[in-house]
């Protein structure tokens, strides 16, 4: 069995009072609660915190924990002789037991014997984030998932087992979309229903497209003369490239909409693709190009800052 230093996890001393432990929990819970926190690894840190607190808040569990002595976190150790008879209610092998599961299974300092109990306990729910590419969201995809869930042996002791499976993500998902896989969480006990697995979809950033809901945005650079004269350009979409007509006099920042070319929606239809016009300025190096721009500058009466003068005159 691997040792876990619950006092270190909670940032309290071994002789901390129940009040100090409670306060430490509250402080860290606000920091790491996955529903509130933006910290990296919040989920994992909160799990460790919860496990530590569940053990240290209960005087009998804490006494049992203290008798295990102090070891380095992660160090393999065995409880002192007689420990399992005093607290575990029987002798068993500690080899592949998780310390947290051992204490979670205790009630009033003795192992509860989950299997023999009458109370039905629903299996635990799990949450996993699936990172997928925009192309995968567009077409639908399959993701490989792996979970470590507790399974209970005949004596009611939990063993961590790895479960791997594939899930089909139908087309229609977008960033932040939640999906539920019924019954794929932890096993229920004594007739309790099996827990669920919740999938949170996160899209990888794409080189060209930016997603907002089911709409997509794409930068469309135009040469100054294309913007002035209008043109027809080839634009990439997730379903292959399409022709887009750029009307004459198109200014920078204008959003040209390609209806239905965004991400498909789960129940039919699709978002739109917006091409955002940018005016790309060429690095003029050729004599002739420079001469033409000079000619244009002299011939044009266009004043892009006319409104400055109007404001100043007021």
């Amino acid at each position: 069995m691997k040792y876990k230093d619950y006092y270190a996890v909670m940032g309290v001393e071994r002789k901390a009072s129940a009040e100090e432990i409670k306060n430490a929990y509250r402080k860290l819970a606000r920091k790491y609660h996955p529903d509130v926190s933006k910290e990296k690894d919040a989920e994992e840190k909160f799990k460790q915190l919860g496990e530590a607190y569940e053990t240290l808040r209960d005087p009998e569990k804490r006494a049992a924990y203290d008798q295990l002595g102090s070891h380095r976190p992660g160090q393999e150790f065995r409880p002192p002789p007689g420990w399992e008879r005093q607290f575990g209610g029987g002798s068993f092998s500690f080899d592949d037991i998780d310390l947290g599961d051992l204490f979670a299974g205790m009630m009033g300092g003795h192992r509860a014997g989950r299997r023999g109990g009458k109370v039905s306990i629903p299996g635990e729910d799990y949450e996993v984030t699936a990172h997928i590419a925009l192309e995968e969201a567009y077409r639908g995809t399959e993701v490989d998932l792996e979970l470590t869930v507790p399974e209970y042996d005949e004596s009611g002791l939990a063993h961590r087992v790895r479960r791997a499976f594939k899930a089909r993500i139908p087309k229609g998902a977008t960033d932040g979309q939640r999906l539920r896989l019924p019954g794929k969480g932890g096993k229920g006990l004594n007739g309790g229903r099996d827990g669920d697995l919740y999938l949170n979809i996160a899209l990888h950033p794409h080189r060209l497209f930016r997603a907002s809901g089911h709409d997509l945005f794409l930068d469309l650079p135009l040469a100054p003369w294309e913007a002035v004269l209008g043109t027809s350009v080839e634009v990439p979409t997730l379903g292959g490239s399409v022709r887009l007509k750029v009307p004459p006099g198109t200014h920078a920042g204008r959003q040209l909409r390609l209806a239905g070319r965004g991400l498909p929606k789960p129940h039919g239809g699709a978002g739109d693709l917006f091409a955002i016009v940018q005016i790309a300025v060429p690095a003029v190096t050729g004599e002739r190009e420079r001469a033409l721009f000079k000619e244009l500058a002299e011939a044009s009466t266009f004043n892009p800052r006319g409104h400055f003068a109007q404001e100043a005159a007021k």
Binding site: D125, A164, R168, R178, R180, D219
Partner: protein, 107 residues
């Protein structure tokens, strides 16, 4: 390997009150409190039998975890969930604005 099918949690899928209770782990009383405090709204509050859009499950589960883990009373849960919803709405708006900026606001 068997491929698992998923269930969408979005507006076009509906859950009955009992289903929402079972899946979120909230009791019916707790769920009704969240409705009373205006945190959750059934599709038709005048209907004899309440149902909710499936995306509300995310919020209900969040409420359940906050109550359990942070030892909050129903008012506290309602306040936190309301604020979290606001943060989520603002994040959605921010993402939308970023998507509309040339270069994604990166440069």
């Amino acid at each position: 390997m068997k491929i698992e099918q998923v269930m969408w949690l979005h507006e076009e899928h509906e859950l009955l009150l009992e289903e929402l209770c079972e899946l979120s782990g909230l009791s019916e009383t707790e769920l009704r409190e969240l409705v009373d405090y205006g945190v959750l709204a059934p599709i038709d509050s005048d209907a004899g039998h309440w149902s909710f859009t499936a995306d509300r499950l995310v919020l209900a589960r969040s409420a359940r975890r906050l109550r359990r883990d942070l030892d909050l009373d129903p008012h506290g849960v309602a306040l936190v969930v309301t604020l979290l919803e606001r943060v989520r709405d603002l994040e959605t708006e921010l993402r939308d604005l970023r998507a509309r900026l040339p270069g994604g606001g990166a440069g």
